[in-house]
Symmetry: C2
Subunit: 372 residues, 2 copies
Amino acid sequence: MIFPTVDYHRGRIKIIDQTILPMEERILELRTVDELAEAIRTLKVRGAPAIGIAAAYGMLLSLENLLRREVAEAPEYFFDREEGTSHFRGNGIKTGDIRERLNGTKKILAQTRPTAANLFWALDRIYSVASIGEPEPNSLCKRIAEEAFRIHTEELEVEYAIGENGSRYIRSGMSILTYCNAGGLATAGYGTALGVVYCACEEGKELRIYACETRPLLQGARLTAWELRKRGLDVTVLCDNAAASLFVGGLVDAVIVGADRIAGNGDTANKIGTLILAILCEKYGKPFYVAAPWSTFDVGLESGKDIPIEERSAGEVTSFAGRATTPSGATVYNPAFDVTPARLITAIFTERGTIERPDRVKIQELADKLSR
Amino acid sequence: MIFPTVDYHRGRIKIIDQTILPMEERILELRTVDELAEAIRTLKVRGAPAIGIAAAYGMLLSLENLLRREVAEAPEYFFDREEGTSHFRGNGIKTGDIRERLNGTKKILAQTRPTAANLFWALDRIYSVASIGEPEPNSLCKRIAEEAFRIHTEELEVEYAIGENGSRYIRSGMSILTYCNAGGLATAGYGTALGVVYCACEEGKELRIYACETRPLLQGARLTAWELRKRGLDVTVLCDNAAASLFVGGLVDAVIVGADRIAGNGDTANKIGTLILAILCEKYGKPFYVAAPWSTFDVGLESGKDIPIEERSAGEVTSFAGRATTPSGATVYNPAFDVTPARLITAIFTERGTIERPDRVKIQELADKLSR
């Protein structure tokens, strides 16, 4: 791993603080669910898949802290990714207490970011392990830990698969425009949109990469550019409003973005500004690709209209690095996401295959295949 | 005047430093052409019409400094707007010296910003006063001063006329989206795009105003919001990439922008990102208006392809308020303008009337009418 986007190590969730990149590479160790919730809310850890993994670890951390409080002679930590769950030897804890604890934690974490589907998917996945049947408490704890670690491990495999599927659409010599950060920092460590780029490069294809800076928090300029450089790849950063000029100049062959939630009809919520790129692709006849794990799909949602869009604080727009950027008295409109309608999407790359010209029927087919 | 965008007062060009608004309202007094050229280059004074006025005053300042050096017992200043040219009593200066001086000044100022048509228009207008016939030096100086002050005075009248022409297209209750700053700060003091807004408001129409922040230098967030608040008007600021969401939400009834240069076929260069708004207007069926004085037209240009587009420094994108926003090693794409094709423009408001669905024929007709 080039950097720990999110990891669980000896009773701590470790993240790289994404709010201060690229100025500083600082690793934070989170000891409580409240610390994690705050880190998610303030985007110290961000990106739908990474938030999902962080939430799964948040459930584990919560259980860890419960056990350490309840169990006599508790060790420094119970669960560890590298050591499996070998330190687990809890006793005297009740299955009901575990469920109650996890239910409370799930509620706290579910309130951090409303749009990312993976957050709810991961919380549900952990909670469902805890909620079925009447398991013996010790083995239940072990199963919960295994599930959290499994989510992380699987997610990384998923990203490699997305990268391979997406790379089939990428030819050497292409210029790729990406948006926000859908790379290793947003995921288990490889990336979705950037996973496609990395895979294509690993296959020897030569690409030119453009990254929109992505206001207001500049995840494209700060994070995407940082991790591309970290991998030794060249990148050109542009202000979001310069994207049209790239198209006019014939400098973009394809756009690849990640996703925060995909509705049952293929409508895709992603970072605010994504829709403009999809409209530019339509106007200038270029493919618009979405790269996302199946955990980003919310098949139960009829369309993008049903995706809740997080409105973030005015402060993200009214100042930067402590310097006012608007006069006092100005109102701010600051939605964090927009929804790209399915008809503007050329293809969605998932770990289970590529959905070209996504629609309800094709997505339902994939869902049915998975549930079989 | 609410604030001095650009003015000439007792041998000094006075400007409000637009790089530090809205944090601070600082008036600068420029004493030399080099100081003015630097102020234009660094956007302390900006906006195509304001640059035109500043350039005219730059020619006058240059003449002033020549006279003070050459004339025995020179007063503190020769030319003053409020006092007309009453202090002028130069003698011993030759017409050839004046022409040479103005020619040199014209060359210096013409190199500051390549895109704004008004810059070249104003320089040519002053220079043509100096270059015709064999005038007596003293009366020539007087005529040059009068021409510079006339450019400023006329420009303000022009803006009122643009406002009135544009306001006919604005109904009470409309939501207007504007971009960058095409207000008093960009002009003689009233505005082009914002002049339309101000005029509509003065006529009692109630408008909702949205301002895109306009990266990288945030002229929308900093300047447009500042002068709207200064006039007691409400404004909502958004990141440029959030514009599509406004359209999707039905929150925009019209877009009004200024212009830096308009080609003979109506193609319009304006701040980078303008084109995206025009494309959104086309897609969502909303009118896209340009408000500009006739001095912004460059009728000799075949199309927008012939408009030189200024590429500005990477530093505008790679840091903000001293804080790095990109990692080292990232390249930057930072054009200052883009070109909106005429077919995306619903109408251009000028002081001579409104050109609906602009094309070469309609623009040539207006040009012919003016030259008659």
